[in-house]
Amino acid sequence: MNEIKVLLNKKEIELPSEMTVAQLIKEKQLKRAAVWINGQQLLAAQYENWVIKEGDNIKILRVVAGG
């Protein structure tokens, strides 16, 4: 499988090409997350089909509350 290089939370990493945001969130084991791609925040409804591209600058923050 081809891999692409992206920035994830300012760190360069490799991801499988054609990976979606939803797949990335699942891989990171996040329950609820806020995602920005190249400075633009995505809607939750976009996670499933948004394909990450080579060179994308991705920011993911956990939406975590009380306890």
Binding site: N9, K10, Q29, L42, A44, V63, A65, G66, G67
Partner: protein
């Protein structure tokens, strides 16, 4: 329309009882729980009383919604003057006793005076007995519960009991229900102990009927689907509050080494998923709740399932705060706290503070009864907790008053290491990650509390996520895309969600089930619950004002004691830079905090110099009777 409130007054000195009512119109302004407790305190008690004197009131209260079968409605509030903070005191518990209080026909039970020997209070509707507890005094909570059942010859009861810590007036003693549910904070157990009151015991009764049972089904029939659609609630049902360890640990905001850091190696050892996989033996519920978040663990020789299991806060205070990732030691500490009736937050945090002092040479072996209080060594918990509960002379006596009071005895170097507001130790949520909590911890009338406003990440949520949509039903907020931001938007978020949480503590609703962001039910459903459950045509605006009124009552109570803006301050460690994620830094500054505090006061209608409600605010909320 709200029914009249029925209040039971118990004079433990005179051994007399009487029932009074508060008319529905008045009750609607202070509809249960914490607001009702504050209303009674301000009507019947001089705020200047010594918290541990017979003159202090100890008020157990529920709400017009308590006991109606739906998730998250079985909470009981305790209101008193806190011996830990010296302010208005407040604490909530779940379980089954809240529904039982309501089922017995009471909205509040007000205890005053002091019995001349240990007693417990038994209530079966109009049969109210002040019974001898001299053979139960000195027993741990689980044993006391069994002895009460034997004394009454009845197991169909619900009890709230103090342990040795309450009896010995430990200033963060809790009141325990079902051995694992706690009115934990503010030292309410010490007030109960000061009255020689070992337990409040309610006869179990049938469930309260909703005003419109058919319409209530709109909220209750689809609860399984509602849970399944909410990933956070699914995780809460699976891992309990302990699931938050996974998130905070991974993100690097799990307060560690008495708040010096946000990360600790091997946090996974004490995470919710680890507990679920290894030592969890069951999940329990509260009356009528489908979430079932309360875990029971088994660690042979250290933790019996009957005392539950550690919640997120306990995993923080006895875990990361103490630099400790030994799960068995944390479970043992949790059990001992539940047996002796001690708040696990203040206790673990006070021990972490003592470890910090010891590591820095501020506290020496001569002052610790020879114990080495090293970060990472949870083996000291057992001895320390027993010493605290019994107020043993030496380190036990020192720590039994909490970290702030202990530090005052040791000097400035010790005070600089305290992480508390108004004398109450911080819960395990870092202000560098969740800066609105800096405002909340500082201004909260009864000390630092993590359940008094929503947490900041809701402002980061996608615009089609309920975490973003629900808070914006209360007020309009701006987006936030990073940690460490403390500004006017955060001050507004702190205030508006604080009103909502304040109202939840008034209506005695669980903040895992009901809330303004991630919970099972949101603001819209709450309005429906008021209507179908109690026949009360509430609006979100009315509910928000109820929450606001409660906060202002507390501030007014405190103002009579001389509390001002000067008391709304943060500990030094709040301003430390925290390294998280891939080496990024989150930090709040004193300058940003003071500016945000100004914004908060302005929006709250409080005087910026005094930090207390202005006359205009007092009149708007109908609270001018308090200063008359």
């Amino acid at each position: 329309m709200i029914q009249d409130a029925r209040i039971l007054f118990v004079d433990l000195t005179m051994k007399t009882t009487k029932v009074e009512t508060i008319d529905g119109e008045t009750y609607r302004k202070y509809p249960g729980g914490s607001a009702l407790g504050m209303y009674i305190m301000l009507k019947y008690m001089d705020p200047m009383v010594d918290p541990l004197s017979p003159d202090n009131l100890l008020i157990f209260s529920v709400s017009p919604l308590t006991g109606i079968p739906i998730s998250g409605q079985s909470r009981m509030n305790v209101t008193t003057k806190s011996p830990l903070t010296g302010t208005a005191g407040d604490s909530q518990v779940g379980g089954f006793i809240p529904a039982a209080v309501k089922g017995n026909g009471y909205d509040a039970i007000v205890c005053k005076g002091k019995a001349d020997s240990p007693v417990y209070l038994y209530i079966n509707k109009d049969d109210i007995q002040i019974r001898d507890a001299s053979k139960i005094w000195g027993k741990v909570t689980g044993e006391a519960e069994k002895l009460i059942e034997e004394d009454l010859g009845d197991t169909k009861i619900e009890s709230s009991i103090i342990g040795s810590a309450g009896e010995n007036l430990v200033k963060y003693a809790s009141i325990m229900h079902m051995r694992s549910r706690a009115n934990g904070r503010n030292g309410v157990g010490a007030v109960m102990g000061s009255k020689n009151l070992k337990a409040l015991v309610m006869k179990k009764q049938t469930a309260v009927k909703a005003f419109d049972p058919e319409k209530m089904k709109i909220l209750t029939l689809n609860v399984k689907e509602r849970i399944a659609a909410n990933e956070v609630i699914v995780d809460t049902a699976l891992n309990g509050s302990a699931g938050v360890v996974d998130a905070h640990g991974a993100e690097g905001f799990f307060p560690s080494y008495n708040w010096e850091k946000g990360n600790i190696e091997n946090y996974e050892n004490i995470s919710g998923t680890t507990i679920t996989k290894t030592i969890l033996v069951g999940r329990e519920t509260c009356f009528g709740c489908a979430i079932r978040c309360k875990g029971s663990v088994s660690v042979p020789g250290k933790a019996d399932p009957e005392y539950g299991g550690p919640e997120y806060e306990t995993l923080g205070t006895f875990g990361s705060y103490c630099g400790n990732t030994n799960l068995e030691d944390i479970c043992e500490a949790n059990q001992l706290c539940n047996m002796y009736g001690i708040d696990t937050i203040s206790c673990g945090a006070t021990i972490a503070w003592a470890m910090d002092c010891y590591e820095k040479g501020v506290l020496t072996k001569n002052q610790t009864d020879g114990l080495e209080l090293r970060f990472g060594d949870g083996s000291v918990f057992e001895k320390l907790i027993k010493k605290i509960a019994m107020r043993e002379p030496g380190i036990g006596e020192l720590l039994a008053d909490g970290s702030a009071a202990a530090a005052r005895k040791l000097g400035q170097a010790a005070e600089d290491l305290v992480v508390a507001c108004k004398g109450q130790e911080w819960p395990a949520h870092m202000v560098q990650m969740k800066p609105n909590l800096a405002i909340n911890y500082a201004v909260n009338p009864f000390g630092a509390d993590h359940q008094s406003s929503e947490h900041d990440p809701a402002l980061m949520a996608p615009e089609d996520d309920q975490n973003w949509l629900w808070p914006n039903m209360l007020a309009s907020f701006e987006k936030c895309d990073r940690y460490g931001v403390l500004d006017a938007n955060k001050a507004k978020f702190a205030l508006e969600t604080q009103k909502f949480y304040s109202m939840l503590d008034t209506l005695c609703l669980c903040q895992f089930a009901w809330g303004p962001a991630w919970q099972l039910y949101g603001p819209k459903e709450l309005v429906e619950f008021c209507k179908y459950g109690a026949g009360w045509d509430a609006t979100i605006e009315e509910l928000q004002e109820i929450g606001e009124r409660r906060i202002n009552m507390m501030r007014m109570f405190n103002s009579k004691l001389g509390f001002t803006r000067a008391d709304d301050k943060l500990p030094i460690k709040a301003f430390l830079p925290i390294t998280y994620g891939e080496g990024e830094i989150a930090q709040i500054t004193k300058e940003d905090f003071e500016k945000a505090l100004d914004s908060y006061y302005e929006m709250a209608g409080w005087n910026k110099e005094t930090g207390n409600p202005t006359e205009e605010t007092i009149i708007r909320l109908g609270l001018d009777w308090i200063y008359k």
